[in-house]
């Protein structure tokens, strides 16, 4: 089990450690700075932190000593002539890095390989621990990419990257809004694979168009890598190969941003539902986690020790994490609430802190 958590927040990166059965904030890195996300590289133990500095742009920092010291890496960059065209009628604009929205390591056979998903929609690959980045032209240059549009941001973005645990040449990405895309050749060529997803809010003739699907988060089961779960703007979807299947019986709501899947049991997954979609607050002011253990046929509402009255905590797409054991999960909220379970959600404990808005959560060694 992992005893260390990295919590990326609007005002710093918080390192949580477990000791004597309690979790506490052990260190505070980049205090005051806006941290978009953090990533722990299982291959060499290094930590990465993506900073979204309001004035000075996006930065990437790397630590090889568990966050004691940090050094700056390069960040993905767009070239002259790269343009963001969107499918929602906004005029085309020059592409420039707006946000590092996802960051994942390659496999053990690919030391130094990193994948970064960005707003405005480019996927980048590094093969030197972030010292340099290459835009995946095979995706960026597709005409379909100009049909994507922003979901929550002005421009589209890649928020989820799944590197297949069995064959690291196979990469799946989730795009808001632009569906799910797959490459089987290290990112050289791509095809859309969001068939079956449904966007209720679109005109009827476009509702099943894979390129307009607003995927909020995409996760892959490590032990059963043929199974993917997606929290979508419109609901929850599962894929066992082939088309996506919509799951409509999630209580108390099918709307939300975050999803986590058990690392070995693909039928077990967790969601943090919210009232859809303009309010984006917990249903009835009660924070709950929805869990399925039967592949989505049924869901339990987990609420033990979670706030059940006048709680307006929204959990963003990267703010729910699971560790490698599959027993420990943690999630944070935009109002700074933070909860940890050690028994798959049967019981939760609140961190004794009032954190800044939480953007992302990850277990070290997960």
């Amino acid at each position: 089990m992992s005893d260390v958590l990295l919590v990326s927040s609007r005002k710093g990166l918080f390192v949580l450690e477990r000791g004597n059965g309690e979790w506490r904030i052990a260190r505070r890195e980049f205090l005051g700075d806006n941290i978009a996300l953090a990533m722990c590289d299982p291959r060499d133990g290094s930590w990465y932190a993506a900073l979204d500095l309001g004035h000075f742009g996006n930065k990437l920092q790397r630590s090889t000593d568990h966050g004691v010291t940090w050094s700056e890496c390069a960040v993905p960059a767009y070239g002259e002539g790269d343009e963001v065209g969107t499918g929602d009628g906004k005029p085309p604009q020059p592409a420039a890095l707006r946000l590092i929205w996802s960051l994942e390591p390659g496999s053990a056979e690919q030391p130094g390989r990193l994948w970064a998903g960005t707003i405005p929609g480019g996927l980048f690959r590094s093969d030197d621990h972030g010292a340099s980045w290459q835009l995946m032209r095979g995706l960026w240059d597709l005409p379909e990419r100009r049909g994507w549009f922003g979901g929550g941001y002005d421009q589209p973005g890649i928020h989820s990257i799944c590197v297949d645990p069995g064959d690291a040449r196979m990469v799946r990405i989730g795009v808001s809004t632009g569906g799910v895309w797959a490459s089987d050749d290290d990112g050289a060529t791509w095809e859309q694979c969001a068939n079956g997803m449904r966007a209720e809010y679109m005109p009827p003739e476009r509702a099943y168009d894979p390129n307009v699907q607003d995927v909020h988060r995409l996760v892959q089961c490590r032990g059963q890598p043929d199974v993917f779960w997606a929290q979508h703007h419109n609901g929850v979807f599962r894929n066992d190969g082939g088309d996506w299947r919509e799951i409509t019986n999630v209580s108390p709501s099918v709307f939300g941003f975050a999803v986590a899947v058990h690392p070995r049991d693909a039928d077990t997954a967790w969601f943090v539902p919210a009232t859809k979609d303009v309010r984006r607050i917990p249903v009835d002011g009660q924070v709950v986690v929805a869990r399925t253990r039967d592949g989505g046929r049924s869901f339990e509402m987990l609420r033990d020790s979670l706030p059940q009255r006048d709680a307006y905590d929204l959990t963003l797409r990267h703010a729910l994490a699971i560790d490698a054991s599959g027993d420990r999960l943690a999630f944070g909220s935009t109002t700074g609430g933070f909860w940890i379970t050690e028994d798959q959600g049967d019981h939760w404990r609140m961190l004794d802190a009032r954190l800044p808005p939480v953007h992302a959560v990850t277990f070290v060694g997960a």
Binding site: L53, G54, H55, F56, G57, T69, Y78
Partner: protein
């Protein structure tokens, strides 16, 4: 020679080897006949600063302000404005951002 003044919010991102400096504004004396040339001399000294001041297309970042001898530059894409001996360039965060 011109003086380039980096605000404290910017100077804190200078490399860690320079953290022994007192916190606060950093003033650098550089050569250059234009704003762009002066900044290039700053970036030669501190390469990582380029990405804090300019985006990947060479445009001054949206939420950054450059004042040259007391006047804000008018076009963030054009750094060819001539500067004189003794000119002062202040690089600071715009209050609109962050």
């Amino acid at each position: 020679m011109a003086k380039v003044v980096l605000s404290s919010a910017l100077s804190r991102w200078l490399p860690q080897s320079d953290v022994a400096r007192p916190a606060g504004e950093v003033a650098l004396t550089v050569s250059g006949a234009s704003i762009g040339e002066a900044l290039e001399h700053v970036f030669a000294q501190y390469p990582n600063l380029r990405g804090y001041v300019l985006d990947e297309h060479g445009t001054v970042r949206h939420h950054l302000a450059l004042f040259v001898d007391g006047a804000a530059i008018r076009d963030k894409r054009d750094l060819s404005q001539a500067i004189g001996n003794g000119s002062e360039i202040y690089v600071m965060q715009a209050l609109s951002g962050g």
